[in-house]
Each structure stands twice: as structure tokens, then as C-alpha cells.
Amino acid sequence: MKLQVNQVSVSLGGKQILHDVDLDVAPGEFVGLIGPNGSGKSTLLRTIYRSVRPAAGTVHLGEQDVWGMSARTAARHTAAVLQNCPTPPGLTVREVAELGRTPHHGMFDRNGHTDREIVDAALARTGMADHADRIYGSLSGGERQRVLLARALAQEPKLLVLDEPTNHLDIRARFELLELVHTVGVTTLAVLHDLDLAARSCDRLVVLDGGRVVAVGPVLEALSPAVLSEVFGVTAATERHDDGIVRVTYGARPLARAS
């Protein structure tokens, strides 16, 4: 489903975090949100999964205003995989995935046959079906992220929001997770820290700096040498290699300017 963020501004504790941010994600697209630490990436995501209400501007999912829906309705449309999600280690893999059914039920409902099928499917898609009865605390970092992705899929979202999903994962687990998100095929907006990973796996990039959008577009356009130098402070080039993959190459002396 199409996500449209329109002129969103956010202030937290008297400090303006986001300034008139525009962003859109087309149905089925995988858009990366990048920028240095403190540029407002996570805050922007929070306005989308309905955690921080924008002081100005709107967030639309399809034709609907996200902030006009109830929290539960919004969570049936948008699922998030967040950083620092302190999942109780004693829950089983299946129980964590079942959390995704939360917005689909009121207080008196119990999970039924349909829920079980949806959770089973989510575990199967993330390759965790054989481990449904394992304790979450016994999993590796990459496996935990897959379970959290299964939890998000169990929400049956139209939009997937990921906040640094590859953080703390080893290199192979990073590639595996991003490939998994691609095969899932849900419209995705992902904050990614690793520029090379962002460049190779996103359809388009949005670059945030100081709470403003400073570049947006296909990877090669958004991640120009100028942006890399001015926003990220590194000397680097982005080019499409013969195999069709865009890679970021950092300069011999990567610090763009003495600051």
C-alpha cells in the first residue's frame, strides 16, 4: 500500500526534530531511509507507526490518515521491527510470532484456527517453522530478527517499517535478512546504517540530515559523492558494477574534511 508522508514536523522536549519532511513509498517498493546519527530517522518512523504525533503535516497510508485511525486499526496496516525490543527470553518462538495477532483481537477473543494458520505461515516464510517451540532467548541474533520479522508478518501488514534491522548481525545474517524482506514483497521503509547494504538492496533512498530531507531518488542519484561528503562526511563513490549491483567504495583517506 502506498505510504505518503506530507510536510511532517515533530518537536520533542522543545527541540524540533523533523522539519517539513516529505516522503513516499509506492506499493511494493523497498525504500531505504539513511542519514547520520541524530538526523531524525527513528522519529520519522515513529510518526508512521503512530508513536509520535506530528506537530504539523500528515501521514497517509493508501487513502487513510494514519493519525485518524485508532491505534489498533493502524497496527493492522503497519507492522514495525524495532531496535531494542526487549522480548522476554522465556517466550517460545511461536509465542513471539503470535504477538503479531494482538491488533486483530479484542479483549475477549482468543486466537483461533485462522490465527494459527497465519502464524504458521509467517514462521514458514522466515524459515523458523521447525523451531516454533524453541525459547526465544536461546536463538542467535540473526534468528531473533527473523522471529521479530515473523511477528511483523503475522500482523498481515500492508506496510513494513524496519529500524536498523541488521544491527549487531554478522555479515551473512545481514544479507540473509535483507533477502528475506525482499522475498516477502511487502511495501517496506527501512532505516539502514550500512550504506553499502542500503545501496545494494533498496529501490530508492531518502537521505535525512538535521531533520530535513536532503536527497531522494534512485540509489545512484541519492547517494552522490556530494551527499556522501556533505551529509556523511566521507569521501566515497557509488557506482553500478557489471553484475548490476550498486556498491559504495570509500576513498583512500575517507574522512572528507577535517571538522
Partner: protein, 364 residues
Amino acid sequence: MTATPITTRPAPRPLTKAAGARPAPLSSVPLPVSLVVLGALLVVVILAASAIGSVTFSLGDSWQIVQAHIFGGEVNPAHDQIIWEFRIPRVLLAALAGAGLAVTGVVLQALVNNPLADPFILGVSAGGSVGAVTVMALGAGALGGLGVSGAAFLGATLAVGLVFLLGQQGGKLNPVRLVLAGVVVSYVFTSVTNFMQLQTEPNNMRAIMFWLLGSVSGAHWEQLHIAGVVVIASTLLLTLYGRQLNALVTGDESATALGVDVKRLRLILIVLSSLVAGVLIAVAGGIGFVGLMVPHLVRLTFGVDHRKVLPLAALVGAIYLVIVDLLSRTVDPPNELPLNILTALFGAPFFIWLMRRDRSLAHS
């Protein structure tokens, strides 16, 4: 292109092996089965506790009297007096207190995300004690004719109200502030209680001690009606929040993303659990340990899913406190011990055993 195309995809890495950590021993038992088994056990324990005492009857005798009161029939008046008028009310109060305290313990541990939280973490116990001790030390006129129970409830409400005001920040309840406010308010109220204890006559001391350590010996039917309705209704309502509590313990942001209104949920849960704890303080004094230990005991045995933990904690808490109360009046007859002396002595060894055999704690 000259490059050799990759024709086979590398096999995905094998998943890590389950290293030691395994699910809780009874986590795969379906909830309805555990509920029926524990429910039946509760009924048996209640009947047994009503039959045993200075005069001991058979289980059949106590069942016959209960049956006669529910469905009508002839009873032996002497037996009826002992069982129906004296024992059943206190056994039921013990069951109510056990269930209520265990469930509010589960809720508050989840709410403030702290395994050391118990039903009294928000100052309920200290506040209730001030009220009760004021009346016991200074006489019934001290608080405008309020009895011990009324005064305890008033004190508990006052303390929670205060903690509530101190625990919020910009209109939002902050768990850490809430716990700290609870600790501070408890200290202040406890020092008032201690001061009054020192000032009172020595023969009041024993009664005060006994009250502070919790007891259901004063239970009677009239009091049970009000307490029963409040505790049963709030506890049942709380057990419906399992799904939302599961979401809440994954953090505020994550719960929000799952469609939970975190601010509202916190408020509802605090009001309901304080109501239960306040009423129980008023009718049974400060029964400790149950609200702290039973939640952990249930998690270690049945797993940490709140949809299971809440109803099972209610049953286990009820069974546990009925047994503790039975011990408190049978270990040293005709004397009675306060409940707090036995809740810990009896439960701690079992708890330590469970804690040591659970390897998932190593991963937290």
C-alpha cells in the same frame, strides 16, 4: 558475460542448536487442561481445609455441608456452625487473597518491568498499615469511627494516590519513577507506623504485629461479600489483559506498534490492581511473598505467556494461601501464626529449586 553464472544457491546456514535452554516443564500442556486440574485441586484443598482443625471432619462431611447450603438439605447444626460459620469464610478469604495477590503481582511485575515488583510496590501495604495501626493504637474514634479495615483501605488509597501523582512525568506514567515513588512513600508511611507502634501500650503491640504480618482468622461472611465481589471482579478483568501485557513487556514502542494504547493500559492496570491490593490489605493485612513468588513460580513452570500466567497464577495463588492458612492454624494448636511467617518458610525452598533448574534465566 564470461563470468561463470552461479547455478546453485548456497544452502542456508543451519540454525543454532538449542543450547541448554528449554521451555518451562509444563509449557506444552494446553491451558484448559491446567485450568481444570488446578481448579479441581483448589476445590479439594478448600474442602480439606474446611474439614481439618481442632475438630476434624471427613472430606465427605464438609462437602455435605457445602452442598446443603447451596442446594438445600439437612445438616448437623454443631458441624454446620464450625464448618460454615467459622472455617469456610476464612478458607475462602485465603483463596481470594491468594488469587488476587498473585494476579496483581503478575500485572505489576509486567507493568514496571521489574521481577522484584509485588502487589505492594506502589505503597499499598505501607499506606494500609498506617490506617490500620492508627485505629488499633488510638482506638476506633481516631479516624471518625472507621474500623480497622476501613482505615486500612483509606490509608492504602491515600498512598497509591500519592505515588501516582509523583510517578508521572508530563502526564505519562514512567515505570521507573513509579517504583521510586512507591519506595519513598512506603518509607515515609512505615516510619509513621513505627512511631505509633512505639507510642502505643504494650498489650496493643501483639495485635498490631499480628495484623502487619497478615491473617485471615477474622474472616466472616458479611465482610466476605464486599471483598469477594471486588476481588473476583477485578481479578477476572485483569486476567483478560494477557495479550496486551505480552505486548507491553516488549517495550512501549513495540507495544504501540502492535496497536496497544500504552498510556491507557497502564492507567487501567494500576487502578485495578491497586483496588485489589487495597481491599485485601483491608480485610487480611499485609500478606507478603505470595504476590512476589507465585507469579515467578507459574512462569517457571508453565512459561511466560501472560495469557496463561494470569489465570494459572490466580489458581495457584489461591491453592497456596489456603494451604498456608491451614498450616498456620494447625502447626501449633491452639495458637495461630500470622501468614507471613509461613508464606516464605514454606514457599522459598521450592522456589529456589525451580529457579536453579531453569536455564533460560541464564539467557535473560
